[in-house]
């Protein structure tokens, strides 16, 4: 059970949150101009590097804000969190 640092509410138990997937995915700004390949990658393809990931979480049983988390998926170390629109601490 992770301890997740909500930028608004502070560290809270994982059970208060929803996981929202990869936080690095960028939506093509003009979908109609995107190639099938580019759109397919956006919808379906996710990197799964060993080590540090940027993730989206929602504090659904708290302030209901979505925010970014940096987490090492090997060690489960929580490496920082940030509101949407602000930078996460760099990869250690």
């Amino acid at each position: 059970m992770l301890l997740i640092d909500c930028p608004w509410c502070g560290p809270r138990d994982q059970r208060e949150f929803n996981y929202g997937g990869d936080g690095t995915v960028v939506r093509p700004p003009d979908p109609s101009a995107a190639t099938d390949e580019a759109w397919h990658d956006y919808i379906y393809i996710r990197d799964n590097p060993r080590g540090s990931h940027v993730e989206l979480w929602q504090h659904n049983a708290g302030c209901r804000r979505w925010f970014k988390v940096r987490r090492d998926v090997v060690t489960h170390e929580m490496q920082g969190s940030a509101p949407i629109g602000r930078e996460l601490p760099p990869k250690p």
């Binding site: 059970m1 992770l2 301890l3 138990d13 929803n18 929202g20 939506r27 093509p28 979908p31 109609s32 995107a34 099938d36 759109w39 397919h40 956006y42 919808i43 379906y44 989206l56 929602q58 659904n60 209901r64 804000r65 979505w66 060690t75 489960h76 929580m78 949407i84 629109g85």
Partner: protein
């Protein structure tokens, strides 16, 4: 004679009281403070179980959580529990228990025949023997399980209750031996919030079983004084009878507190066990060490026990483990057992020390006391049937892999064995900390921590009492400092005598006296021998993880606490690789077995989930509704009248709605209030259709896609003001759609000025449907004109019913003239009652989910079964709802080739050729029912019902290219029911396809 092995004085038992208990149908006596194991030993009971595979007689090996043999079926009836360690069962008056794994009785066990034919049961026996034919495995397994015993679970419901507790602390100290007590005291004195958790009923750990002095007084006095001080610290909590069993991420530690297991039954309102989830800033592990046996031939006879256990039974419980003892050791530490046993009146028949020249202070003391030390000797084999009667000892060669000279017998009824110590690194390893192998101690020690945790005392390889005290004080003070309390200065350490110990001789297994003679057990609980390990290696299992699974070494309820390290050390010798290279298997939670009751906690029965009731629920109950679960909601299924069958009730509700008027509770639909200048823009982006031109006071049906183009949800949205909308969602997606909108607004489109708020619970909702719906509404409502001209189809007005302000939407799900009335939830019941009353003269009847489902299937409306995560708007006949002039979420995906394929399944209706035949939901549709498999699938049935309106069974289905196949005959095959029904494909709107009724 009662309790023949009880020593006349000493021990931490209450000798003023005798209590009775029952083991295998016989009654014995013991004292408060005993464990079941100590009480059995006091009564001279040494045979307590049969082994798993060979059914060999087994006795008590240990005095703590590591016990592999003495597994007990505890209590009876609905409180019975299997596989409980006798060494940890606190004795109470009237305790009833049984041995396991024997038939017909413990002393005479037919399964012991396995032992005679043990050559037939090598490592991997089950894998090798019971594989063919594969279909017989289930039968074999049942027979093997019966033979293998392992106790029975209770079959009746558990009468006790359990609690869950969440806690936070600055320092969690696990273990209350010398290191743990010092750590808790040091951290507590600095003012940190401390939780001290102790497995046993009393603080003290190993000190309870030793005759050591601290500051010149018995150690137990020092323990009591520390305990008194701790109880005065307001921020410190002591949890006894509490096992830390799991160590998870970010210093989450799970504890199980056995609140009432030491009582015959829990007190009123007392939980039996309590599961703690503790987040600690720092953890101090003072979990001690577990003594390990030395493996030799027939090392499993009742009477053979760990040296530390023999000492604990003597000192803590005042029980002699036997009358005549031999000690087998490779180290100095175990000599204390000989001294303590001798002082308790046990005859020491000899000390067998595998070291060639034990010359330290302790062997000298033993010799001075008149004990014979057999230096460089080993126990080659033991004798006895159901209990130990003697051992053969023999000189070991220098390498320790053979013998020199002849063996000689030593008579004894107890053999105390010490092969050194294994630090209890289980929790440290669970915390992802790395271990290192220490050659001098021949043990794995904590090395690199992965979380904020410190190991103190024996778990860190510091075995002497003085070292434990110093270590604990330092660990406690530094943990407090790291948590923000104090400067890290440890408290003063009490003075203790420090007797230097000579080095141990690393020896894991003693050779057999002759090939084939005796069995050398590495793992007692799973009957794994040295020979099994050698066989596994010959068959190619070199990795320790494979070895574990193939031989079952280290599996079972004890998880190899006394066998893992010995097993891998022996494997290291067999494969010729150093121990650190062989490595350990992974340590996983739980440290000791945890009851399902504790895991589940209070979330059982009615408390598993919350129940959601609409505001009108009391009315439905009074009206005799049968309810169905819709998510957490209770919704009326139908309202049966006396004498009606279920189907008759449903048909009546459907026909009445189509002919007169029905009312249904739709409060569970998701409702989201949307406000802000960019509200229209939000709707345009999340819905496939366009919203810019929707007038104030009008509703529109909307369709939402996922980004992959699949239909996500649908519902109506109404414009209440220039920048104010009310969105409705399906019941099941209410939460998901809310999170979806929040995601897009917060993450992707933060520039949009829109607020969304879930108002599902704030508004109760009732839907009126049927030709008389307007009459009912007109009679009930005040202050608003609900005529067709004033309130046309998809119109919205506000008014009052029963004095309550209500929102009125002219929308329909049934295909009939329909209105939905929303009222503030607190007044929902009053509004509902007013509508029902107004409807009396117009023939109103309530209808439930079954009739609602029938009405919508008749009209071809899609719900969850059709929105199955695979259907596009075009599949469902909604292509026209996707705006060509604007973008929306998921639209780009619709032009992907896979979503434009010509053979996609499309929504159609089905009618059986014989009207009364049920088209079973989930049926596969095939073109020809006589084809041999594999049969091409043409589609599947998604919803079905009996339509009283049409006098026929009907269904909705998804069929390949279905819209072009109207009129074709298919067969609905249901493998579950074995039925095959001939069906004709029809348009999916089966009643009033022109939609005339709802627009009038």
């Amino acid at each position: 004679m009662t309790q023949p092995f009880r020593i006349a004085r000493g021990g931490q038992i209450d000798r003023s009281r005798e209590i009775g208990f029952n083991f295998d149908g016989r009654t014995y006596r013991g004292h408060p403070g005993d464990t079941l194991a100590s009480a059995l030993l006091a009564n001279g009971v040494r045979l307590v179980g049969r082994s798993f595979k060979y059914h060999r007689p087994r006795g008590i090996l240990a005095a703590g959580a590591e016990e592999p043999n003495a597994l007990i079926q505890l209590r009876r009836g609905n409180r019975t529990e299997p596989n409980i360690r006798a060494t940890q069962i606190e004795l109470f008056d009237g305790l009833e228990c049984e041995s396991q794994n024997r038939w017909p009785s413990l002393g005479f066990d037919l399964g012991a025949i396995n032992s005679v034919f043990s050559g037939l049961f090598p490592a991997g026996f089950y894998y090798k023997t019971f594989m063919w034919p594969a279909s017989y495995w289930l039968k074999y397994e049942a027979a093997i399980r019966r033979m293998a015993g392992m106790g029975r679970t209770a079959v009746e419901p558990d009468p006790d209750h359990y609690e869950h507790m969440h806690a936070h602390c600055d320092v969690l100290v696990i273990g209350s031996g010398p290191a743990g007590l010092m750590a808790a005291r040091a951290a507590g004195r600095w003012g940190a919030r401390v939780i001290l958790c102790e497995d046993g009923p009393a603080l003290g750990g190993s000190l309870l079983g030793e005759r050591t002095a601290i500051e010149g007084k018995p150690a137990i006095d020092w323990v009591r004084s520390v305990e008194a001080e701790l109880s005065g610290l307001p921020e410190l909590r002591v949890l006894t009878r509490t096992t830390a069993f799991g160590y998870y991420d970010q210093n989450l530690i799970t504890l199980v507190e056995r609140v009432a297991d030491h009582l015959p039954v829990p007190g009123p309102h007392q939980p039996r066990q309590r599961l703690w989830m503790v987040r600690a800033r720092r953890v101090v592990l003072a979990t001690g060490a577990i003594e390990r046996p030395i493996v030799f031939a027939d090392n499993d006879r009742p009477g053979i026990m760990l040296a530390s256990a023999a000492r604990t039974y003597t000192n803590r419980y005042g029980v002699k483990p036997g009358r005549r003892a031999v000690l087998l050791t490779n180290n100095d530490g175990a000599y204390a057992t000989a001294f303590d046993l001798a002082d308790a009146g046990v005859n020491i028949a000899g000390i067998v020390d595998v070291r060639p020249a034990p010359t330290g202070a302790l062997p000298a003391r033993a010799r001075a006391a008149g004990m014979t030390v057999h230096a460089g000797h080993a126990v080659a084999i033991s004798h006895g049937t159901n209990a130990l009667t003697g051992v053969e000892i023999i000189q070991l060669n220098a390498a320790g892999d053979g013998f020199e000279g002849a063996s000689r017998p030593l008579d004894c009824d107890v053999l105390a064995v010490s092969g050194g110590w294994n630090p209890a690194v289980h929790l440290f390893s669970q915390s992802q900390g790395k271990l290192r192998y220490d050659d001098r101690l021949a043990a794995f020690l904590p090395n690199q921590a992965a979380q904020p945790v410190t190991c103190a005392g024996a778990v860190a390889g510091h075995y002497s009492l003085a070292a434990c005290l110093i270590d604990g004080a330092a660990a406690g003070a530094s943990a407090a400092k790291a948590a923000g309390f104090g400067d890290g200065t440890p408290t003063a350490v009490p003075s203790v005598a420090n007797e230097p110990e000579a080095p141990a001789r690393t020896l894991w297994a003693i050779p057999r006296p002759a090939p084939g003679q005796g069995k050398r057990f590495v793992d007692f609980q799973n009957d794994v021998t040295v020979e099994d390990l050698a066989l596994a290696k010959r068959e190619g299992y070199r990795s320790v993880e494979h070895l574990k699974r193939y031989t079952t070494l280290g599996m079972g309820t004890d998880q190899g606490k006394t066998s893992n390290i010995t097993g891998l050390a022996i494997l290291s010798g067999i494969v010729g690789e150093p121990i650190p290279k062989v490595g350990t298997t992974t340590f996983r939670p739980p440290y000791t077995p945890v009851s399902f009751g504790a895991m589940v906690g209070p979330e059982t029965g009615a408390h598993i989930d919350p129940v959601r009731h609409s505001a009108m629920h009391p009315w439905h109950v009074k009206a005799g509704a049968r309810f169905v679960n819709a998510g957490l909601w209770k919704r009326p299924l139908f309202y049966p009248k006396p004498g009606e069958t279920d189907q008759q009730a449903i048909d009546r509700e459907v026909l009445n709605t189509r002919a007169k008027v029905g009312i249904v509770d739709v409060s569970t639909l998701g409702k989201i209030d949307i406000q802000g200048p960019d509200a229209v823009e939000l709707l345009n982006r999340v819905y496939t259709n366009a919203w810019s031109k929707l007038e104030i006071g009008k509703s529109r049906y909307g369709l939402m896609l996922r980004e992959d183009g699949i239909v996500f949800d649908d519902g109506t949205t109404t414009r209440l003001g220039p920048s104010h909308f009310l969105m409705t969602t399906t019941t099941v997606n209410a939460v998901r759609v809310m999170a979806w909108l929040e995601y897009w607004l917060q993450v992707q489109w933060p520039e949009l000025k829109v607020y969304v708020a879930s108002v599902t619970e704030q508004w109760a909702a009732a839907a009126l449907a049927g030709p008389n719906a307007r009459h009912v509404l007109a009679d009930a409502v005040e202050g608003v004109d609900v005529s067709h001209a004033a309130l046309p189809f998809m119109g919205y007005r506000e008014g009052r019913i029963a004095g309550v302000p209500v929102r009125i939407f002219r929308i329909s799900f049934s295909g009939e003239l329909g209105f939905e009335v929303n009222a503030p939830a607190d007044h929902g019941l009053a509004v509902w009652e007013a509508l029902v009353k107004a409807g009396e003269k117009h023939g109103i009847m309530p209808y439930g989910m079954e009739a609602l489902g029938t009405l919508r299937i008749e009209k071809g409306h899609v719900v969850g079964s059709e929105l199955d995560g695979r259907t596009t708007p075009d599949d469902l006949g909604f292509a026209g709802m996707v705006s060509k002039t604007k973008d929306c979420l998921g639209k780009r995906s619709l032009s992907r080739p896979a979503l434009m394929a010509l053979d996609r399944k499309q929504l159609v209706g089905l009618m059986p050729l014989f009207k009364t035949e049920e088209i079973v939901r989930g049926s596969q549709l095939v073109a020809n029912q006589n084809t041999r498999p594999p049969v091409p699938m043409e589609g599947m049935v998604t919803s079905n019902c009996y339509s009283a309106t049409l006098g026929s069974s009907i269904a909705l289905a998804l069929v390949k290219n279905g819209r072009k196949r109207v009129g074709e005959t298919l067969f609905a095959q249901s493998p579950l029911t074995g039925r095959s029904v001939a069906v004709k494909i029809v348009h999916h709107v089966m009643v009033d396809p022109e939609g005339a009724r709802l627009r009038d």
